[in-house]
Amino acid sequence: MSDITAPPRPANAPARFHWRRIIRGQEVGIFLVLVGMILFFSLSTDRFLTSINLTNIMLNFSWTAIAAFGMTMVIISAGIDLSVGSVMALAGIATAMLLARDNSPFAGPDGSVPDAVIPLAVLAGLAVGALCGLVNGLLITLARLPPFIATLGMLQIARGIVYGWSQGWPVQNLPGNFMVLGRQNIPVGSFNFPLPTVIMLVVGIIAWIFLTRTAWGYRIFAVGGNEQAARLSGISVMRTKLMIYTISGLLGGAGGVLLTARLGVAAPTAAQGYELDVIAAVVVGGTSLSGGEGSILGTLIGAAIMGVLRTGLNLIGVEAYWLPSAQGIIIIGAITLDQWFRRRQGKSAGFARLFSRGGR
């Protein structure tokens, strides 16, 4: 059967790598929005285009972006994960609890925690995040709950655990060597890249490769595009969804640990409402809520847009009170523009899908 299944390979095999595929029409629209905003703020104030400020902006959207990479996969699969803010907080608390002076189970007689515990604590934070995600996945696949409902429940449950565990008090006095994770800068030439940003970029590249170059990535798109056809193509919809939500929890956990390291404290109210920032970054980045379409690069740009907006408005003297309104305008504006860019392809938004039943 060789002539049917293994055709001879012509010499000029098509190239694997196309620039066009990276900067597809898809991302161009929102990329222009980002450039436009940077231009606007640079022209409005000369405090915007300074290396300190740029470092700050990058730092500020790093954890959102990390969580948003996971959310991108969830939304491509036509799901949603509302629990990421709570999961970030829970992962942060879990890590902090293992590291806090005097209170950690690993604290020595003088109350200090040995540095060797730090990797363990970080792993614990990630594991807690992944576990929350796995539970989400099980609720969606085995209990067949709509993702909206399952993760809404998890949002509350995880937040409750955070409060109960911490008894409402922030967990502080974390080892200096842990806080390095959130505070270290990596100089590249004359520019300082914050460590969380570097981690975010590395995670982003891995997520991008995962989505576009592996069979798992293809499966995520397939499940989001048409679950029934995906199943008939031999894809285990259940395993794919379990994986997606676990990854989302894991990356939420990573964001939470980094946030804790940066702040030096795990507050029970940490990351409250972050799920909306994360979802905003993803949808501004052009990922469709009806599933089957989206990209990591878009999400990165989306997160950057939200970060630039926050800092930029502050710098040009807009009171922080007005920030939510500005964010709302940007979300609506960017998505309107994005749809205008791809009008000819036309596909209806699918909020209805979020409330429809989950499945295997």
């Binding site: 055709p7 069979a215 798109f221 397939a222 595009g225």
Partner: protein, 508 residues
């Protein structure tokens, strides 16, 4: 036929990104005329009809309705001007009932206060729907959900819906591709009565025999251009083929008798209550086993059970003498079974994804290095099958939703032909496929059989069954009523087995 065309277009052009779908096409249809519109997959037939139905906007050209120039601004507009269309890719809401689908947007209202409140008169709606369903001979009731219906019944609902508009021009885009003989004949009777009422019918099909049965005039498109318009009685099938393809085809059915080997699949007592009862058969290497029967006989359902797509209530399946446990399509694929479903839009394809991704989904995991997909190898394979089946697409990256119906079908076939199974199940494989590609697919099937693959081919086209099958299994009401050898299989014999239920019930 009168000498005033009811609908006329002049110099219509339409381009999509990367494709010139129509160039400078002239076309007209007269009252009381049945026009067959023919052409290869991607020739532009559906695009032209969608322009006439207001679903697409033309780039240039003019449309005249009763000699008045007109611009259709929306499908609704065209409908109110007396043009209705049965779309090739169904346009029904799966989560609503048959009645609600037929009367979307013009539901009958209650009288009196109910009318003011816009309350839908459900009883009246269901009664009227039932009337239309009787006309087209559908075996469904108005309260059935669309998503629970097999493709053929959905097609009949589409037809009922289009007829319910009482239009002057009725466009039917491949209405028979999902129908069996009986339903097709019924539809032809409807078309004849529409014609007698002085309405115009435009009819698209890839089954050339039908054309001579029903059409007064034949219009052929090739690569978006008008090739010709001829009265039906002045041409022949061969003439049409060379108009469509630009050359003549020597042989349609390329059946080669291959060496039939050992049993590759044995099925014993396969049952899913109410749909499939006690189905048993053997399939050998290199054999093409045709599944014949009327619409609703349980052939698709049997295939879905074999493939693990639905849970079975009983029965056993052996592959190569072993008994794999098959609880999902994933298991079935691992056991060496592939399945081309009949409903390409919902089951066969992920319309949002590219041609490439769709084609490689079931097989991609064999092309990984350290977890990463070998993009070049995947492209190579996908491109190879695109060439073989002559899929018209601007590139492998094109989303499948933008391909013509027949080209979508070719993508589904490519996806499974490249999966190299032990058993390949094809459910209406040539549905909506043009003559050239059809003969290519038959050739491929023969080649696969020669390579030792066992093939099950479900088809409602008897000529296809008769030409390609080594044996024919006939089903009726979920049961196997006969398994016939190639030498003994004739249309009459198969039909006799396919309608066995009447006598069987009589004696039972």
């Amino acid at each position: 036929m009168q000498n005033q065309p009811i609908l006329q277009v002049r110099g219509i052009s339409k381009a999509f990104p990367g494709v010139q779908a129509l160039s400078d096409v002239d076309f007209e249809v007269y009252p009381g005329e049945v026009v067959a519109l023919l052409g290869e997959n991607g020739a532009g037939k559906s695009t032209l009809m969608k322009i006439l139905a207001g679903a697409y906007q033309k780039d240039s050209g003019r449309i005249y309705l009763n000699n008045q120039e007109i611009e259709f601004t929306s499908p609704h507009h065209a409908q109110t001007m007396g043009i209705s269309i049965i779309y090739q890719e169904f346009n029904l809401v799966p989560t609503q009932t048959v009645a609600a689908n037929i009367f979307t947007g013009r539901e009958p209202l209650h009288r009196g206060v109910g009318r003011l409140l816009k309350m839908v008169d459900k009883q009246e709606m269901e009664r009227a729907a039932q009337e239309m369903l009787n006309v087209v001979g559908a075996h469904v009731i108005p309260t059935d959900m669309i998503r629970s219906l097999p493709v053929a019944e959905r097609q009949l609902v589409e037809i009922a819906k289009a007829l319910s508009f009482d239009s002057r021009v009725i466009i039917m885009d491949e209405p028979t591709s999902a129908l069996g003989d009986e339903e097709t004949q019924n539809l032809f009777n409807i078309v004849r009565s529409l014609k007698n009422q002085g309405r115009a019918v435009i009819f698209i099909t890839h089954r050339l025999k039908e054309v001579f049965e029903i059409a007064d005039r034949i219009v052929v498109l090739r690569d978006g251009r008008l090739v010709g318009s001829v009265p039906a009685h002045e041409t022949s099938i061969d003439g049409l083929i060379s108009m469509m393809v630009g050359r003549s085809l020597d042989q349609m059915y390329q059946k080669e008798t291959s060496d039939i080997g050992d049993v590759v699949m044995r099925v014993q007592g396969l049952t899913r209550h109410g749909v499939v009862e006690d189905v048993s058969f053997e399939l050998r290497r290199g054999e093409i086993l045709g599944f014949a029967g009327l619409v609703g006989a349980g052939r698709t359902e049997t295939a879905r059970l074999l493939f693990g797509a639905d849970p079975k209530d009983g029965g056993e399946i052996w592959i190569d003498g072993k008994k794999p446990s098959i609880h999902s399509p994933e298991d079935a694929i691992r056991a060496g079974i592939s399945f081309v479903p009949e409903d390409r839009g919902n089951q066969g394809l992920i319309l949002l994804l590219s041609v490439l991704k769709n084609e490689v989904l079931p097989t991609m995991s064999h092309f990984t290095h350290y977890g990463l997909l070998d993009g070049a190898a995947l492209q190579q394979r996908a491109q190879d099958y695109v060439n073989r089946l002559n899929v018209r697409t601007p590139s492998l990256e094109q989303k499948v939703m933008f391909l013509s119906g027949g080209n979508q079908q070719k993508v589904v076939l490519a996806k499974w032909l490249m999966s190299n199974p032990k058993v390949l199940i094809l459910d209406e494989p040539t549905r909506g496929i043009d003559v050239g590609a059809k003969s290519e697919i038959y050739a491929l099937m023969s080649q696969l059989a020669r390579n030792g693959i066992g093939i099950i081919m479900i088809s409602s086209e008897l000529p296809e069954i008769l030409a390609m099958s080594d044996r024919v299994l006939v089903m009726c009401e979920g049961r196997v009523t006969g398994i016939i050898d190639r030498q003994e299989a004739t249309q009459e014999v198969i039909m006799a087995y396919a309608t066995r239920h009447a006598s069987a019930q009589g004696t039972a």
